[in-house]
Amino acid sequence: MSDPSLSVHDLACARGDRLLFKGMNFTLNAGALLLVQGGNGQGKTSLLRLLTGLSSPEEGEVRWRGQPIRKQREAYHAEMIYLGHANGVKDDLNPVENLRFADGLQGRVFDAARGVATLEQLGLSRCLDLPCRVLSFGQRRRVALAALLLAGATLWILDEPLTGLDVHAVALMEGLIRDHLKGGGMVVATTHQALNLEGVTVQRLLVGNVAIPELA
């Protein structure tokens, strides 16, 4: 199998009658982070949904390992994980159960010890047996991040992953992204916050025509 790479060819995206962008091209290789920037409503989330295969492009195509993702949906989804605005966390289940079902739905066998260790790493050791309904917004986001880590996917597609996280969690997340990239993983992320990512290959992509001041 070829090296993991995500590439986009002449991609155009429309929402209703409105064309958000067209003629977009980029290639992302192993170990690199693509930071998607742009103002509100410029099509960042739409771009990420095109990359996941949830929606299909107006023109052009998205390729994974050189093949269009439409033709290898299942193989692509096995290597990709998406974290959107909504966390995908069930309010009636506790964090451990949430991870167990997330693993089951990905066709993996749940390793309880590893799940608990990941939740503790993310600072949720006191909430393990509470239903997620009673957790705060940021804590639920951390549960979603734990599911992300357990998935073991090569490509992470993250839509505003830092929303609702406190400074400790943001620092933790920066560390996790760095580790993932060093291990040969790939990340596509949108964020409005400054990220401290020393020693990481960062590609920037501006969506839309609103100039954004350089993020550190």
Binding site: L54, E74, Y82, N87, D92, G104, L105, G107
Partner: protein
């Protein structure tokens, strides 16, 4: 493949067990609708026995509709539906698992309550027995076809009403053959023909409905 199906089933059953109020509402609705008819049309036993099978079948279809609008809506709302659609397993299996879970949660309790309501409508034991078989074959059809409607109306405003308008016409064959089977056994003409057709309709829905629902789900998520 079957592990994914089991995971979907176990997940939905666990969630239903955590929120008992949600599924008890549909069962209470079934009992209430069926109980209103004797009060409305009068207590003559012959009259009740004649309308009984039809009333119970209509009440069962309405009760299943009541819960169907939430089949995908809750998971869509908290984002877990996207995660499930993005799993490496086919979306058809996801829809099949969720329809099956819906039948276990809403269909099976209807089967348990129906004999009691059958006694209330002065049905003979033989008629109640056939009613049970017809519901056993018919309620999975309601869940499978309902899955198509729930996927089509996902995320729409007023989706619940639209779902009712879309799906009730598709329920008509199940209703005719289901109620017809019980009528047949009471009229002495036998129920086999109706039950065979109901069974064929179940096989047909099982083969077609999950594919349509999966395609509809992908369109609704775009």
């Amino acid at each position: 493949m079957h592990r994914f199906l089991l995971a979907v089933l176990r997940r939905d059953l666990t969630l239903a067990a955590r929120r008992r109020g949600d599924w008890l509402i549909a069962q209470f609705f079934f009992v209430m609708v069926a109980s209103l008819f004797p009060l409305g049309v009068g207590p003559e036993p012959e009259m009740l026995a004649r309308i009984g099978p039809g009333v119970l079948w209509v009440a069962a279809t309405l009760a299943s509709l009541l819960s169907l609008s939430r089949l995908f809506a809750d998971d869509h709302h908290d984002g877990s539906l996207e995660h499930m659609v993005l799993s490496p397993e086919p979306t058809v299996l996801l829809v099949l698992g969720k329809s099956l879970a819906h039948w276990l949660i809403y269909g099976i309790p209807l089967l348990l309550i129906a004999p009691v309501l059958g006694i209330q409508f002065n049905l003979s034991w033989e008629a109640i027995w056939v009613l049970e078989i017809s519901l056993l074959l018919g309620t999975p059809i309601l869940s499978l076809l309902g899955g198509v409607g729930a996927a089509l109306t996902l995320g729409l405003r007023g989706g619940g009403v639209l779902l009712t308008l879309l799906i009730l016409p598709l329920y008509v064959p199940a209703l005719i053959f289901g109620a017809g089977a019980v009528d047949g056994v009471m009229a002495g003409t036998g129920a086999e023909a109706h039950l065979s057709l109901l069974g064929a309709f179940l096989v047909l829905s099982l083969m077609i409905a999950p594919w349509i629902a999966a395609a509809a789900l992908r369109v609704s998520l775009e």
